[in-house]
Amino acid sequence: MTDQPAIELVGIDKKFGAVHANKDINLTVAKGSIHGIIGENGAGKSTLMSIIYGFYQADSGEIRVNGQPITIRDSQAAIAAGIGMVHQHFMLVDNFTVLENVMLGAEGGALLARGVASARAELKRLETEYGLEVNPDALIEQLPVGLQQRVEILKAMYRGAEILILDEPTGVLTPAEADHLFRILGVLRDEGKTVVLITHKLREIMAITDTVSVMRRGEMVATRKTSETTVEELAELMVGRRVLLRVQKGEAKPADVLLSVRNLTVKDNRGVTMVDNVSFDVRAGEIVGIAGVAGNGQSELLEAIAGIRKPASGEILLDGQPIDKADPARLRELGLAHIPEDRHHMGLVLKFEEYENSVLGYHHRPEYSRGPLLDLEAIRKDAMEKIEKYDIRPPNPRLKTANFSGGNQQKIVVAREIERDPKMLIIGQPTRGVDIGAIEFIHRRIIEMRDAGKAILLVSVELDEIRALSDRILVMFAGHMVGEKTPDAGEQTLGLMMAGIAA
């Protein structure tokens, strides 16, 4: 075999309307290597990979596979070229079996009957060869995320991928599961296959990649041999300036209990128990962080406390009075503010103008209304004040919210919830999809709130964020609180707890 690079990108450029997601990208991935790509959220990593996989079309630029320039019009072409991809957001049919998902698009014949047999055989082979075991007849919706991801990998392998792209595969995995994944990737590399691994967790990069490329704001800013670089250098490249990986904060002065959760059980829409008999307190003047891998019940817990999801049993007390029956509107009255995990679908109405979102949920308040009508002057004035105070750009309350960038969108939500000066603040993924500048800003605001004697409950899948902000850390696994730790607890111990291996 020639040692042509597996993938070569020349001048790839991609715009999404106003957003310049990829700017003239050049990249070379050597055959038989694990190539890491890091970058802030929104840097353009997924976009770039989706272009290689033929999911998006580049506006301009050339793709070469094994030295051959090829045009990848759709994923079919990519698959034909031996490229497989595990997407950041899984591309599985929930009510299909593993087998059906694997076969989809590679059924081998107009009738299913024949394909099924061979597919089973092939799955067996892959299982034994790479230790990718999963029951072929299980329904996807009944599999834990870890296994779902495995199905995605199987899909790629089944199609005989020589080049495997994984887009932030570890976001949904415990450290232990991640390590298992990395072992598999190692095997693949030794088989001569090429792996492209996207993540923004530096630790993982250092752990298994041979080469690493850094993206920032849609540009490819650097490529390094992993052995010749350091975490600090990468972090700096990623962000464009020195980063203080820790936020300064003084000692917490916890006062009396504000929020207390008692034997809370919450089910999701499918009726599956996601939060199982959980109890904890949050005191005024402290930040309680809930660590855990995505999908272990944190979302449901937040929604239950915020009054969006009715608990199955148990009780929630705010200032001693039960609130598990109250709806979000009522809770705001009681001084409980909520920064939701998903700003695009919950925190904001993207089609609204900025000023409308700046009062979403509070628009019934007397100061914003005259009788049954809205008091637009008051609202716009108020919105403008927040825009200045939080440096939201562009400073235009009449602009459609969708046209603000993620970080600025997040600032709109944060401003709205914090400026109401609540007693209790519950926060989900405060900095997801937000650039570092905004991250620091938002972190500082949160600390200020604490020092102002507010009670704060913080949920984040970013362990670093949890450790940076929290005064106490609760670890959640499979709907249970598996334990409490102080921020100085080691990543190792927390990681084990997140994996359900009690500490």
């Binding site: 991609k14 715009k15 999404f16 309307g17 106003a18 957003v19 506006d59 915020a306 009054g307 969006i308 709806d327 979000p328 509107a329 009522r330 809770l331 705001r332 909520h338 939701p340 998903d342 679908h345 919950m346 925190g347 904001l348 109405v349 993207l350 089609k351 609204f352 409308e356 979403l360 949920g361 628009h363 019934h364 209304s369 049954p372 009508l373 809205l374 637009l376 459609k400 969708a402 046209n403």
Partner: protein, 367 residues
């Protein structure tokens, strides 16, 4: 690159693009006319002549427009709450019952200006009541409101005929209709408005309900863009999850929105029942409820746009009658054809020309 997230100036979004859609709809209609073997241009000039040729023509145009304003608003209010109410037809039909009952019981005793407000309420209440069950089923049971409202159109038809044939009919009369209302149950015509422009209204039943319609349009504007309820409705309509987060009571908003929608549809009955025929007749709605869908979409669900779109359809109806009279080959259902095409191009295909627009627009900006 995708043009979807490029923002265009208002005059293109709300002016040029709807206009383009409309033009295409008309071109195809013209083709149909040609297919029948008549001259599209002749038809067009007849359309104009019929609709604007005389004070009477204009009167009829505005008379039809009045009904369409009501039904258009009815559809729009529901759409803003994310509901597609195809039941305006039936709600208007039942609204007619409410309006007629008021007229029948009061016309002997009081003058029209006393009857009217009560009739407005009666019609509104009955229309709202008819919208309630589908609303409730949607809110509490999640049953598809599009289908339920259609079903309720059929049920309304059966109910009304039963009442007209067996209860409200004047004994010994053939036609299933109520007795003619007396003065006190008839809405005065707006001849004076016409005479301001030196035109004569003639027999056209253009009446005061037109003014009520304009008032309703203003009311809807305030409701949707200036009131807290409207804010809740729009939040729910655009993003139900955001509504949950904001603590907007979904079920209640859905029901309120549908009640308002039904009430507006019901008030439409004033125009034909008290304003024109002065009696309740079988099938008096005559499809106005469905026209409301086209009107609302044409008008981008905005009251002002709806008023204009309603007048446009008034022109189609009046002019259409003229055409079908002069060109016996072209029946009045031609309007349904145009209606369908307008809904298709202004509604389902509203973005067909957008990418092109964006590119052209960007060319201009460069230059």
């Amino acid at each position: 690159m995708s043009t979807a997230s490029v923002t265009l100036p208002r005059w293109i979004n709300y002016g040029l693009i709807p206009l383009l859609n409309l033009v295409v709809a008309f071109l195809i209609s013209g083709f149909v006319v040609w297919l029948i073997g008549e001259s599209p241009l002749a038809a067009l000039s007849l359309l104009i002549e019929g609709a604007f040729g005389s004070g009477e023509g204009i009167g009829f145009t505005l008379y039809y427009a009045t009904s369409f304003i009501f039904t258009g608003l009815s559809v729009a209010v529901a759409i803003h709450a994310g509901l597609f109410n195809i039941g305006s037809e039936g709600q208007a039909y039942i609204g007619g019952l409410g309006c007629a009952l008021v007229a029948l019981s009061l016309d002997k005793y009081v003058p029209w200006y006393v009857t009217m407000p009560i009739a407005v309420i009666g019609a509104g209440l009955f229309g709202a009541a008819w919208a309630f069950i589908p609303a409730f089923l949607q809110a509490k049971r999640g049953s598809h409101i599009v289908i339920t409202t259609i079903m309720f159109n059929y049920i309304a038809a059966a109910l009304m005929v039963y009442l007209l044939v067996h209860v409200l009919i004047v004994p010994g009369k053939m036609a299933p209709e109520t007795r003619t209302f007396l003065e006190g149950g008839q809405l005065p015509k707006l001849g004076w408005i016409m005479s301001l422009f030196g035109a004569k209204l003639g027999a056209a039943p253009f009446n005061v309900s037109f003014i009520i319609a304009l008032f309703a349009a203003w009311f809807v504007w305030v409701l949707v863009w200036r009131s807290k309820l409207g804010f809740d409705m729009r939040t729910l309509g655009i993003s139900p999850t955001a509504a949950d987060y904001a603590g907007t009571p979904r079920a209640r908003i859905i029901i309120i929105a549908m009640l308002l929608s039904g009430a507006l549809a019901g008030m439409m009955a004033l125009n034909p029942v008290m304003g024109s025929s002065a009696r309740l007749q079988v099938e008096f709605v005559g499809g106005a409820g469905f026209v409301g869908i086209a009107v609302s979409l044409m008008g981008r669900n905005h009251p002002l746009g709806i008023v204009f779109a309603a007048i446009l359809f008034g022109v189609l109806y009046q002019g259409g009658d003229w055409i079908s009279f002069e060109m016996p080959n072209i029946t009045r259902e031609m309007i349904l054809v145009i209606q369908g095409l307008v809904i298709l191009f202004a509604g389902a295909l509203e973005y067909m020309f957008r990418p092109a627009m964006v590119l052209i627009y960007q060319q201009f900006k460069r230059a």
